[in-house]
Structures are given as structure tokens and as C-alpha cells.
Symmetry: D2
């Protein structure tokens, strides 16, 4: 196994998260940075014998043409990547840049053709780089809420719709279909639909590949997933939990669209009730503040009652850099999906809930319980 | 067992915490309030067959004479107890009030005599109320840092010092000695010395009683005990953690004394390094703001770095009512110490770390790990 | 003048704000509380010779029947009014309670009849209590955004519509019309329409009465009105200003209605641009959190740039009790409108902008400039 | 006048603030940045005919040798200066770098000699650059609290002490003495002693130069100076005001020294009582958090009571870059002191209180009042 290399194929390969993944992986393997933020470098997971960082090869799809080196320079100006790193990683970024293929946009081609073309890109990547396996991770912008379509319900129906020249899938699901068709594992790091349609689940099953998701837990929800269990452990009743998320950059602009916001907000709300065991009054807002750039500020305010019903409150402000928080988790997920594929696991992977706001196949949202499940799964022989 | 009653003897029995315990227990057993905030009412602990709330009988020591009913009225004005509850609990408060005996003050009597007198009060309480067991809980004001004395090191030395008419113990340890002498379990809910002296530990061992402590984890440190492990679980490196605690009321005034503050601040700092595995730059301040009354506001600011060293920050403000947060834990501890005594356990109880900032016999500060340990211990047969 | 008494007629006379006004005025004039929070008690305004607090007589309209004494007890439980005050003010509250007349609800009567009936109530109050003047202040719940109607544009058109049996006015404007018809001054303390329609302005002019408004500046916007000028004075460019308001109680529930929220949010946004001289990216949210009761928590986050464009940020959390903040301003406004009426001033009063988020007849939103204008106006001879 | 040039001589000329001043002035005069943050560019001050930015020439004293270009690169990495600016300003920074002379350190030379030497440097600078006037601004690290010495009380006594070979002045006062001796105006932007000794005031008078200070108001205190008057204007009684300042970088390390902290904290506390008219319970902490670098986070929590004594609270967090906030004010002060010197004003300048936490010759701490006084003074003919 030690010589095997694994491909990490990013959807949205020229975006902030993907560029941070590429620059960071290059910097760490060159010895220019410690593997901070990587869960898979923890001693608890040593027994999992994951693919070494230096054996990951990057490629991907994107609909823009901006060179990675230029994106990296922008991220350095924004404080996401150290300026000093740019010179060290530019050659490797150029190599990754050449492995990025043109992505898929609605209307440019028949959807069935798109799936074939994109799957072909992934297969060609695996062959050219002599990869043992490929993991596809979607880190592109969040999609608007998707309109239901009968072809979502079953693979048969989907294939008939495709045969009839229809395009019933959202773009994220087209990428998932391409991954499965190419025999690659798939992870949706965004709240988009991705593989979460019965038709797609059947496609994954047909090709015998594992998949995971969705919606990376990188900030406010991460904190919620330890605070809510804390109140429960102390029998303190949470009575309201309001949250405001100020986002800049691409994601902020996308989520300014009320439908996409709805999609993300719903994904955030789902877990709280599961952790507390009762519904809680709690509006969640997502605002686009262009001035924040790659940074995100979340404010949460919660009220709770304790002994004899006395009301108390807590508030927190989280100021994080989304790309910095997401990038190491993307690498973690690539290594863990690679492990699942190596072991021959197929279908949704509930053991990865630790990474997600909206974990497939699991109702467990408590972080430390998720961490225990992850460690057990990864180190099982 | 079902008919057995257990005594809960409070040191500082006319203080805010003790009055809240007394009023709350009366209200809950009268059906006037739900047992919110009580950890021992959780389903996970049902298998422990703890003494029912209605079988707890209250008494205690205090150095003031203010009637409990008057203290309860003050707490209602401060929003700690519902105004509507006062009429419901006044008879029961009067009964408890009659069971409070005069406490111990330095210089009023020889220390050896004090221990005998106080132990006698506890024994008389147990007899008068036909109690199966008594648990003594110290909820009096925090003491200044104690000057070391050779008599602290061994029970022999302590007894010789007493025989020579000396008074080498701080008041909290006098109460612990009285509890042990009376065969009662003891808990220190404050950061004071209490039972944490070799001489006292030997006394507990001689009388075959269990004890626990110290310094109830009711606010800022509670939050720390879930946030610090969260950062560790995500491989995010905490780089600084500064805290400011604004306290009113009695505790604030006591802690305004720099030595006592030092004592409390050190107790808070100890756990953070244990949870993160490395020291962290982190000043902690405790300020007395008389205007806050029974309420406490804590602000914590922490910086952390993630992927490629990118710096991020988080801050939280906790606004709690100390008496409301402490009172149910005092009742929980009484029930759990009663369980330990019933089972014949003796000496320090590390399994109770869940409740404390500075847990005796344990270096585990992570809340959910502490919760698991507590549940296992309590439900072990 | 010293013997003259002035009526303060409250629309929403059994609501939280009105009950706090009534209880507070009774308590202060009985010597049970200092006049804290009353701007008109400042030495700067001594030269204005305002009507003494003890010469204000309360009455009003409301559509509910709950006794003031009961409302006051609820407010004491919520911490708005001291419990100890209830006994002192109950007789005076009963007297005020008897002066409250049934208010107006859409559809119960023809609008023209309603104006006559309500005006009659005000006139009868003035006569029964031998009042020199009456000031009507609207402190009822915020209305939804009003649909435009041709009859709003001119008094002629309004009277024709009334003659035709139509009901073109929102309730707040019906009350304003009644006030003017009765020769009383009028203040809208809410963001509702009130007197801000050309037809109503003409009616005020016809009856020769002054009026003021609108939307009392009691919290977040108050802070904005000093912080925004601070940044301007230092040439620091504010780049975004996001706000989240968590409200409980009646107002929260009313504003949960998206249209009413829109009305309030727009009123808040208007001033910021005026103070900064340029538009600012700034979403404002108003959420109903029932658990907060009479309390309100606002969080504002703003980004600004300084020298060489360096980005910095500030955030604040305001935790206030709306009724406590509003009540003294209502009393201030009654005294100041009484002054205007005594002096024979008519029409909108821009000098009162100090009190309002959306000041009539003024674009000045900077608090200290407004304070200067107010003081000059009030003390002009 | 238009051809006259003015020297700005910085004490601590290689520090963060001075480097930001030098880089910023070079960038702005080269057209590479707008004059954001400069109060003296406001239209209100146009009538003052201040020296144009392009007519300011920089020099200074420092005890280190680090090249300005290197310091600027560090500040760019820290986000204080845009990376893109480095290339544009490096030539100008080199020119400034050559005008920096070796500063003064205790024990290196007799204090009387030091004053002569430093004054000589300033005179040589004025001559070499053909400057009409020179303004000296102290932006070096804060000194510890100074021990009183009889020679501080009068110029006679100081000169006798010097003649006797003594060194009774702190370094900041040595620099002030040098400035005055060279006929230059002096500003202390730090809380150090500087010119605030009777002996130094007499020296300024002898040489007929103006001076100002002290302790630039750049963050938390700036906000206080608008919030405290806001509460006063609304008759809301501030009951406590606690503050915590987390500082990194050089200033943080210096202020970690308890004596220096004491000095800075006292300077902060002084103004609050002046603005509110009564003392307020209010601990202020200054902590050194190395990880914050050039950034500063301040958290203030205040409680206030309103109508009927109801308690409410407010808290704010200010996250600023000290060098970015200080640098433009240093330039403003140079231009304003130049104006005073041009006009022939001498002695302390209370009209500059707008810029300072601890304004010489003034008890006015309210920002907008200070702004009015500044504008009147600057534009007086």
C-alpha cells in the first residue's frame, strides 16, 4: 500500500477552499508548515493507516479560468495563506492548475453527456497519474434550493429522463453522478443536493462506491455541537438560540439569495433539536457583508433556564476564516473516503458525521460522540 | 432503603446558595417547580437509586442569624427565586432555619473544641431527624490562601498541635474535620482548603467516610471544559485564552481580596493546560462589581490558529446567576455522596470531577468524559 | 401657571409602556423613587419651566380590559417595576384605570364616528379633571405597513371619504385625528403612521396644535446615534453595520410580522446614512424571542477602515428593558409638547428629534446635536 | 507660506507607529492611498490652512537600528500596511531611515549632555532640510511610573541637578527637554511623563514653544468618550464600567509591567468620572497577549439604571490595530502643533484634548465637545 497514490478531485477547483487545499498541501509536504488543523494527523487515527499527505494528487473541475497562483496571491493578501509561502508553492500550484478541467454549467450540454464527459475527466486523471483511487469533493458555491423532479426518485426514472434529453439534476448532483460513474468516492462539503437523491444513491450502489456529506461544520455549528450537549448534561433547559452569520466573499454573495439561505439555515437548525431533545425558538440569519472578504463572523445568543426556572443567557462571537477552517477537513475527508474505498465500503458513511452540519445517515450531532464514532470506525480492522 | 432519610448539612447555611437549595428543595417536593438543573434527575442516573429528593432533610452551620425567610425574600427581589414561591416555602424554610446551629469563627474557641462542638451538632441533627446518613457540603464564602503549617502534613501532627492549644487549620478544614469526626461525608463546593490536607485525608480514612471537591464548576469553567476539547478534537491550536469575571454579592467582595482571587484564578487555570496538552497565554481576572448582586458576567476571549497558522478568535459572554447554578449541583452532590457512603466507599471520589473546577484525585477536565465517568460510577452495581 | 394641570392621554393605556409610565409617575411623585431616566429633570432644562410631574394627570384609550394593577404586578415579576412599589402605587393606578376609555378597532364603527367618539373621550377627560391642556401619546403596538390611499393626501379628500362611509386611515392615524379634533397635542412614540399623512398634518394645522414623532429611540439606535458620529469625527470610514434585535413580549410578536418588521427596519436604516454621509452595507434583523419577555437584546457588528485602508471592527450588545427605557421619554415628551402648546406652537416639532429614530421635519440624527437643538428650543423665551 | 516645509521628528522612529506614519505619508503623497483616518483633512479644518501633507519631512530618534523597510515588511505581514505598498514607499522609507539619529538610554551619557546632543540632532535636521519649524512627537514605548524627584518641581532645581551630574528625568522628559531646547514643539502621544513636570513646562516657556499631550485616544477610551455622555444625556445612571484590554506586540509587553499598567489604567479612569459627574465602580485591566501582535482587543462591560432603578447592561468589543489608529493622529498633531508654533502660541494646548486620554490643561473628555473646541481653535484667525 505504501506506494499507492490517491487522487483528490475538487469540484470548484479554483475557488478559495480548493486553492487553500492546494497551497496548504504543497506547503506541508514541502516541510514549510505543520499539519495544523488536520484531524487525520491526530495520534488516535494513526492506526487507520491513511494515505500519506505526500501521496495525494490534486485535480478538479471549475467553470472559471483564473490561475491558481493568482488566486493564491489574493488569499495571501486576505491573510488566509502566509505571503512567504507563495514562492514555495507556485510550481506545485501550476502543476495542479494544469490538471483542472472545464466544469459543467446548465445549458451548455445535455446532462447525460455532461456526466459522461466529467466522468471521463476523472478517469483520465486517474490513469495519467497512476492513481489507486480517486475521491471527488464538492467545494463549489452553494446552490439554490432545488425543485423536486420525478426523476430524482429512482435511477431508472433518471436514466429515462436523460434518454429523453432532460436535465433534471442540479449541478452538484451532476458532479456526484460523474464521480460515481467514474468509480470514485464522493463527498459534498456544501449544503447542495449532491448525492442526496434516491436516484444518485442507487447509482453509487451500482458502482460500489462510498460517499459522504454534507455541509462542512466549520464554525458556529461546530460550537453549537459542544454547547448544546453541555446544557443537556447539566439539565439546563435551552429556551432560545438565535444566530446571525455575517459572510463576505463568494459564499456570502451566493447565500444572499433567499432560497440558498433557506437551504443553509434549515441545515443548521436541524441538529439543535436533535441534541436538546426539544424544539427551540431560534431564528438564524445569514447576511452577505462584502467587506468581510474570506472572513466570517457569527454571533449566537441563547437563553436558558436552570433551577426554579431562573433565566440566564450566553452569547458568543466566532471570527473565523472559512477557507482555513474548511481546507484541512477536505483533506481529512479525502483520506477517510480513500480508506473506505480501500476497504470496499459502499453507500453513505454515517461515521463521518463529525465533519458535517447535516450528516448523511445519522442523527447524532454531538461533536464528541461523533469523534468517538469516527475514531472507532477509522481504526476498526 | 426507601424509607431512609439523608441529612444535607450546609456550611454557610444562611448564604445565597444554601437558601436557594432550601427554598428550591421545598418548592420542588411540594410540586411547585420541576427539577430543572438537577443532574441526578436525568434518566441515565435512574439506575443509581439515589435518595429521593423528598427524603433529604436540611440543616447546617452559619455565623450569622438572618432568618432564611428573609434571605429568601431578598433572593426573590434579585430574581433568583420566583416571588410566587415565597408563600409556598416559608413554613419549610422556618423548619430548616431551626435546624441551623452557630458556626465557627477563628478565635472564638480552641480549634479542637470547635471540631467537637460542630461534630456534636451534626450527630444531634442525625439523631433528632432519624437520619440514615449525613452529607456535609461547604457553601460558605471563599477563604484567602492558607499559610502552610507543619500540622497540615499528618493527622498525628495535627492532633499534637490541637493538644498544645494551637489552631493550625483554616475554617473550611475545621468544618471538614467536624464532618469526618461525626462520620459524615464531606464536599467542598468552594475553592477553600477543606479536606485537601494530608492530615484531613487521614482523618476521613480513620472514620471511613467518602469526600469530594472542590470548587463547583458553574459558569466560565464549565464552558471551557467543552470548548477546549472542541479545539483539540479539530486540531485547532489554542494560542491565548483570557478571561474576565465580574462578580457582585458576597463572593465578589471576598474575591476582591487579592489572595483569595489568586486562589480562585489558579484553580481555573489548572484545567486548561490539562485539556489542551500545552500551556496557554491566559490572564484571568476576577473583579468585584457590587452592582451585579447575585449575578455574574464572564467574558472569555481566545485566539487559535488553524491550517497554515491562520489566526482566528472566539469570544463568549456568560451571564449567570451563581446561586441558581450552584444550588442544584449541591443537591446532586448530597445524593451522590449519600450513595458512596451507602456503598461503603471511603476517601476522595474522583468520579465526581464533572461537578468541579479542581477535581480531587483526577486530571480529567473534559466535561463529557467526566459525565461518562460519573454515570459509570453511579450506576455500577 | 403653577396651578395648571396637564393631561397625558395614552393610546395603548394598558400596555407595558403605559403601565410603567403610570406606576413610575405615581411612585416618583409619592417620593418613592428618584426621577432617573427623565431628560426633562436635567438642570439644562430648568429654564423651560415645564409642567411639574405632580401636575400630570393620566388617562387613555385601550382595547383590552386588564386592570392596571394586574399589569403592574406582571411587570414587577418581570423586573421592570420594583415589587416593593406595588403597594405604594395601587390606589393611584386604580384611579388612572378608571380614566381609561375603550379604544378603536377596525370594523367596530365608522371611522368618522370613531374620531368623534375618541375626541369626545379626550374632551371629557380634560373637563372632568379641569386640565389646561392634554397631550396624547401613542404607545400602542406597532402597525403593519399601511397601504396608500388617495384620502391620505389631503384633508378634503379624507373628509369626503369619511362622508362616503369609508375607513381609509390606519388606527394610529384615527387616534391622531381624534387628538387634533379635541385640540390636543399628539406624539407618536411608535413607528406607526400616526400624524404623518398630509391630511392629518392639515387637520393639526386647522386645530392649531403641535405634534411630534416618531418611533422612540431607546436602544440600539440610540447607541448608533453617538457611534456613527464618532467614526465620522475621526475620519474612520464605516464599511458595514449589521444589527440583530431580539425582542420578546408584545412588540416582538407584532414585529414578527414581516411587514411591520420592514417598517421598523427601514426607520432604523434611514438615520445611519444621514450621519455617515454615505450608504453602508447593513442588514438589520428583528426577531421575536418570546422567552425574553419585556427585555430586548441587540447585537451590532460594524467594520471600518482607517489609515491606509486597514480593516477593523467593533461590536456591541445592548440588553435593555424597553418599557423602562421608553416610559421616562413618554413623560418627557408630554411635558415638552405641553410647553409647545402653551407657547402656541403648531405643526410638527423638529426640535424633538433627540427622542426619535425617525424625527419629523429633521434630518439630524446625531444625538448630541439633537440634544443641543432640544435644549435651545426648550429654553428659548 | 506655501513653500515652507515642517519637520516631524519622531521619538521611537523605528517603532510600529512611526513606521506606519512614514509608510503612510509616503503612500498618500504618492497618490497610492486616500487620506483616510486623518482628522486634519476634514472640510471643517480647511480654514486652518495647515501645512500640506507633502511639506512634512520625517526624521527622529531611536535606540534600535532596524531598517524602516524591514519594519514596514513586518507590518505588511501583520496586515497593518498593504503588501502592495511596500515597493511604492521603499525609497522614501530609506530616505527617512537616513535621517534617524541614535536615541537616548539611561546611563549611556550624562543627562545634560544627552539633552544637548538630542537638541543638536533636531537643529541639524531643521537646517539640513531647510525646515521652517519642527514638531517632535513621542511615540516610543510607555515608561514605568516615574519616581518623584525634587528637580522635577522647577527649572532651576533641574539645572542644578544636571550641573551636579545627576539624571533626575525619565527618558520621555529628556526628549521633551531636547525638543524645547531646540525650539521645537513637542507632543507626547504616550502616557509617559514627557513635558508634564513643572521644570519642563518652564523650559517650554523659556523657549517659547507650544506642546500637547498626552496618551493618544485610539480605542476603548475613544468609545467611552461618546458613550458616557450618551448615558448622561439620557439621564441613565452608569453604575459600573469594567474594561479589559488585550494587547500584543511591544506595547503589550511593556504594559505587562505592573507599574506601567498602573500608569495607563489611571489615565483611562480619570476621564470617566469627569464625564459622568460621579465616581463609578470600574476595574480596568491591561493584559499582554503576545499572539495578538499589533492588534488590540478591548472588552468593556457597563451596567446602568434607568426609570425606577431598573438595571440594564451594555458591552462592547473593540478590535483595532493600534498603529493604524495612532499613525494618522500623529500626523494630525504634527500639523496642528505646526499651526500653533506658526501663530506664536506657547505652553500647553488644551484645545487638542480631542486626541488624548489625558488632555493637558483640560477636564473636558466628551469627544464631540472636544471636536467643537478643536475646530474653533484651529480655524480662529
Amino acid at each position: 500500500m505504501t506506494d499507492e497514490r490517491t487522487g483528490l478531485w475538487l469540484i470548484g477547483a479554483r475557488g478559495s477552499v480548493a486553492t487553500t487545499v492546494a497551497a496548504g498541501l504543497a506547503l506541508i509536504t514541502a516541510g514549510g508548515a505543520a499539519p495544523d488543523g488536520l484531524v487525520t494527523e491526530q495520534p488516535e487515527l494513526a492506526g487507520a493507516h491513511l494515505v500519506p499527505l505526500g501521496h495525494l494528487v490534486l485535480g478538479g473541475h471549475d467553470v472559471t479560468d483564473v490561475p491558481l497562483v493568482k488566486r493564491a496571491a489574493q488569499l495571501a493578501d486576505a491573510g488566509v495563506i502566509p505571503h512567504a509561502a507563495l514562492a514555495l508553492v507556485s510550481d506545485e500550484l501550476d502543476r495542479t492548475c494544469h490538471r483542472i478541467r472545464h466544469g459543467h454549467r446548465d445549458g451548455e450540454e445535455r446532462q447525460a453527456d455532461a456526466v459522461e464527459r466529467l466522468a471521463g475527466d476523472i478517469r483520465a486523471f486517474a490513469e495519467a497519474e497512476s492513481l489507486a483511487r480517486v475521491v471527488v469533493v464538492n467545494v463549489s458555491s452553494t446552490e439554490p434550493v432545488v425543485v423536486a423532479h420525478p426523476a430524482h426518485a429512482a435511477l431508472d426514472a433518471l436514466e429515462q429522463a436523460w434518454a429523453a434529453g432532460e436535465s433534471p439534476l442540479p449541478a452538484s448532483s451532476v458532479y456526484a453522478a460523474a464521480a460515481f460513474t467514474a468509480g470514485a468516492a464522493f463527498v459534498d462539503f456544501t449544503p447542495s443536493t449532491g448525492a442526496r437523491l434516491p436516484a444518485l444513491e442507487q447509482l453509487a450502489q451500482r458502482h460500489g462506491v462510498p460517499w459522504g456529506g454534507s455541509d462542512g461544520k466549520t464554525g458556529e455549528t461546530l460550537v453549537k455541537s459542544v454547547l448544546a450537549p453541555m446544557f443537556a448534561a447539566r439539565s439546563l433547559r435551552v429556551r432560545s438560540w438565535a444566530g446571525t452569520n455575517l459572510l463576505g466573499g463568494g459564499d456570502g454573495a451566493t447565500l444572499a439569495d433567499p432560497e440558498a439561505m433557506e437551504s443553509k439555515a434549515r441545515s443548521k437548525a436541524r441538529g439543535l433539536e436533535a441534541m436538546l431533545g426539544h424544539p427551540v425558538d431560534g431564528p438564524v440569519h445569514i447576511d452577505n457583508i462584502a467587506d468581510l472578504g474570506d472572513w466570517k463572523t457569527a454571533w449566537d445568543h441563547l437563553t436558558f433556564s436552570g433551577f426554579l426556572g431562573t433565566r440566564m443567557s450566553m452569547q458568543f462571537t466566532w471570527q473565523g476564516c472559512d477557507s482555513s477552517l474548511a481546507a484541512p477537513l477536505v483533506i481529512d475527508l479525502a483520506r477517510l473516503l480513500d480508506l473506505a474505498a480501500r476497504r470496499g465500503e459502499t453507500g453513505p458513511l454515517p461515521a463521518l458525521g463529525f465533519f458535517f452540519k447535516d450528516p448523511v445517515g445519522s442523527d447524532e450531532h454531538r461533536l464528541f460522540e461523533q469523534h468517538r464514532i469516527l475514531t472507532e470506525w477509522a481504526t476498526a480492522s
